[in-house]
């Protein structure tokens, strides 16, 4: 099938650095980093900036039905639709295909804690757990936990109904969401898609999951390239959504592109063997086909080892290309990290410059000329590698 050109025509961003494109661009220019090492001490997180959710989720009833990750995502999705100029356009939204990369919602920590305390103190009659859960769980909490209910809430609040698919699987889900959206548009299976993810990093149940693998950054913030031999990631809260559409569809409605989404590739290195991540990244680099003389790299490198160490070795092999790590600035937003990288690539290309380095280790160097291509790299902390090629539209 012939390859249809795909444009990024809408970007919605919320994070620890604020909301919207201008505030993010300013924060990146100024080197702003909002890491919090107190609230969840000893763990470092990048908490969500204060938002007025009413602006994108007008009904309080809708907000109450969501947990934080869903509110963040629904908000960012609304910003993306605004930015693409299709908010409220029932005709287009009714055929907009949606792919959301999602984890799940948080637990009711108080309910869990009370039950566990009672159980270890000997209140472990058969049915104790059942009775407490029946009595204590909010009936609608389940809907705030289900992975596909971020997409469901976006349908309800913003009216996106062409289709609704939710990919799970940590960082790789974010890569594959954009990969599949592009493949469908490029092959004519879809004209326009809303794609993205959201993450609430301010969650003790998530910190616990990653603490099992000793992945959490502790005690003190450090840029992602300076986290020492054991590495670690600082969870970040944020949402990144993109409107991607065929060039023809965009031109027909007079929409302007931020950038062209030229290619997305992904693979799954067999990580049991040291060096396989690096090798996979090299293969993806060849497949994505960037021109090093006019490109830069935005990576979602997490800080987790050995993945980030292997990625750094890959980057060293392409040392002429300027690199920026989103995790230093935003924390690790898991499923959202790759969509965030693509969003920042499109934003940078639309503004004609890469944002300045923020790294004393020397991995990030100044970019004297303006890139016209940006390769977005995603290396999952545990599995999954991917790259996107985002290009300036002349």
């Amino acid at each position: 099938m012939s390859d249809v050109e795909a444009w990024i025509t809408g970007i919605g961003l919320v994070s620890s650095l604020g909301e919207g494109l201008d505030s993010h661009w300013d924060a990146l220019q100024n080197g702003t980093i909002r890491a919090d090492d107190k609230t969840f001490a000893p763990y470092v997180v990048h908490p969500l900036a204060s938002l007025n959710f009413d602006q994108q989720i007008p009904k309080k009833g809708d907000q109450r039905q969501m947990e934080a990750w869903q509110r963040i995502g629904t908000y960012a999705a609304g910003l993306a639709l605004d930015s693409a100029g299709i908010k409220g356009n029932a005709d287009i939204l009714g055929r907009t295909d949606m792919i959301v990369a999602a984890g799940g919602g948080e637990r009711d920590l108080a309910v869990d804690s009370a039950i566990l305390t009672a159980k270890v103190q000997g209140n472990a009659a058969p049915g104790f757990l059942n009775e407490r859960l029946m009595g204590d769980l909010r009936p609608t909490l389940f809907l705030a936990q289900l992975s596909n209910l971020l997409a469901g809430n976006i349908s309800i609040v913003h009216g996106v109904t062409g289709s609704s698919r939710t990919f799970m699987g940590e960082e790789a889900a974010g890569i594959d969401a954009i990969r599949i959206a592009l493949a469908r548009i490029a092959s004519g299976q879809s004209d326009i898609a809303l794609v993205g993810a959201a993450h609430n990093g301010e969650r003790k149940d998530l910190l616990m999951l990653y603490e099992f693998g000793d992945f959490n950054l502790k005690d003190q913030f450090a840029p992602v390239w300076s986290r020492g031999p054991n590495g670690g990631f600082a969870l970040g809260s944020g949402g990144a959504f993109l409107v991607i559409e065929s060039r023809r569809h965009a031109e027909a409605r007079g929409a302007k592109p931020y950038a062209k989404l030229a290619k997305v590739v992904a693979d799954r290195a067999r990580r049991g063997t040291s060096g396989n991540i690096r090798e996979t990244l090299e293969t993806l680099w060849t497949q994505v086909g960037a021109d090093p003389s006019r490109s830069a790299i935005i990576t979602g490198a997490t800080g987790a080892e050995p993945a980030t160490g292997e990625e750094r070795a890959f980057l060293a092999n392409h040392a002429g290309t300027a690199v920026r790590a989103t995790a230093t600035r935003f924390g690790h937003t898991m499923e959202a990290q790759f969509p965030l990288g693509v969003a920042l690539a499109a934003l940078s290309l639309s503004r004609g410059a890469l944002f300045p380095p923020s790294d004393p280790s020397g991995t990030e160097i100044a970019q004297p000329s303006s890139p016209t291509q940006i390769v977005v790299v995603g290396t999952g902390h545990w599995r999954g590698e991917g790259m996107a090629l985002v290009e300036a539209v002349k």
Partner: protein
């Protein structure tokens, strides 16, 4: 040789391998014989204490166990068994080297109570247990395996490792439509020409206390606990909710061209898929039925078929008052008067609702219907709902000429997906 392109010029997608596990048994043969005999797999739950629960029965797969017997372990086991059967039947690739991508429909993964209990026990009774206390004990490598176990991507990782699928495996959740969505992703990849084959798997093991309670709190489950095998009664007037169940289904999809070239036996054709999201409510369908109607029409349009060409509908048919009513509204709007004549049966009357797996499990039963020219019944149909005048193939299987079957799946979060399967390329 049949035309290898469909009405839209795309590669025809066929099924060359299928595998299935439900509460009725493991494997296609066992499942099909019990399904067409009208047997129920719904029983009183024995896996965990049910004291205090409103619903105490389920379609649990009790004949399989794992060391921990938890949702993630069982879900992985079911997926593996179904996949092994499907890949063996297809005879595709070489051992551990499946020549295409993996699309896995799987329930959202969560840390389970066994894990929290283990850490709470390690903390002991002297201190109040909360997440801060548990966090202090979580690191240091003692529970390292639990990180992998509770990642969303791990189920797909394990299948990809064992069967050697290619590229980045995709784990999908579209609630109770997930199984269809996994197949649709495979169909689309083959139609794009990215691959000649795809492995589409769907699995669910949600029979645990918290899952039952969650659905109970939303008043979604049947509470007819005294007679478990009669509890699921789709389209009956006295239906009172669905029965939670476990299962897995796996399908090997190939382009017709590739399947013919390697001399594979073709089990059926995936002629078309449709989807359309509903923006009305988190758990309820739009009262006008428009999203379901649009979804069914999208599937027909994708297949290049008219309603007259469909001669069997494998219903979503959950046995909830709401779903069955809305499904009738959707089908009757699209099919007109034929909605009363066309056979519409619900496998869930026998196996319950296998949630994330349902779309794939029911696609396999639809393909077996086409293969055997025999329609599985809707059992427990003793009190017809006059508002739903479907021919539900009541209580007994029926031999019939079936050339094209539609299977519907609808889920929380406004998820609607429909699929059309045929015996021969359209």
């Amino acid at each position: 040789m049949a035309n290898v392109r469909d009405h839209a010029g795309r590669p025809v997608v066929v099924v060359t391998g299928m595998g299935i596990v439900t509460s009725l048994g493991a494997g296609k043969a066992d499942n099909w014989s019990k399904l067409t005999a009208g047997e129920s797999g719904i029983r009183t739950i024995t896996r965990f204490p049910t004291d205090g629960l409103k619903t105490t029965m389920a379609g649990a797969i009790d004949f399989l166990t794992t060391e921990r017997n938890t949702a993630t372990d069982l879900s992985d086991l079911f997926a593996d068994l179904a996949t092994e059967e499907a890949v063996a039947e297809a005879g595709i690739g070489t051992k551990g080297n499946f020549p295409g991508p993996l699309f896995l429909a799987v329930a959202p993964v969560e840390m389970d109570w066994q894990m929290r209990d283990e850490i709470a026990s390690a903390l002991g009774p002297k201190t109040a247990i909360d997440y801060d206390a548990m966090l202090r004990l979580s690191g240091g490598g003692k529970y390292r395996d639990a990180h992998r176990r509770f990642l969303f991507g791990t189920a797909a990782d394990r299948l990809a490792d064992k069967y050697g699928t290619k590229g980045s495996p995709i784990s999908i959740s579209t609630a109770c439509a997930s199984g269809v969505s996994a197949i649709q992703l495979g169909v689309e990849a083959i139609r794009r020409g990215e691959t000649d084959a795809a492995l589409c798997v769907a699995t669910d093991s949600s029979v645990n206390a918290e899952a039952l309670i969650r659905f109970s709190l939303l008043s979604a489950l049947s509470t007819q606990n005294e007679t478990p095998h009669q509890a699921s009664k789709p389209f009956s007037k006295n239906r009172d909710g669905f029965v939670l169940a476990e299962g897995a289904g796996a399908l090997v999809l190939e382009s017709l061209e590739a399947a013919v070239a390697r001399g594979a036996k073709i089990l059926g054709v995936i002629a078309g898929c449709g989807e359309l999201a509903d923006s009305f409510h988190r758990t309820r369908s739009s009262p006008d039925g428009k999203p379901i109607i649009g979804c069914v029409r999208n599937a027909l349009s994708d297949a290049g078929m008219t309603p007259e060409q469909i001669d069997y509908i494998n219903a979503h048919g959950t046995s909830t008052p709401e779903n069955d009513k809305m499904e009738y509204l959707g089908i009757s709007t699209v099919f007109g008067e034929r909605a009363k004549q066309i056979p519409v049966s619900s496998n869930k009357s026998m196996i319950g609702h296998t949630l994330s797996a349902a779309g794939a499990v029911e696609a396999i039963f639809s393909l077996l219907t086409l293969e055997h020219q025999r329609i599985p019944p809707t059992i427990n149909y003793d009190v017809p709902d006059p508002a739903i005048p479907f021919d539900v193939v009541p209580n007994k299987a029926r031999d019939a000429r079936v050339t094209a079957a539609m299977s519907n799946s609808f889920g929380f979060g406004g998820q609607n997906a429909s699929m059309i399967m045929t015996r021969e390329p359209v």
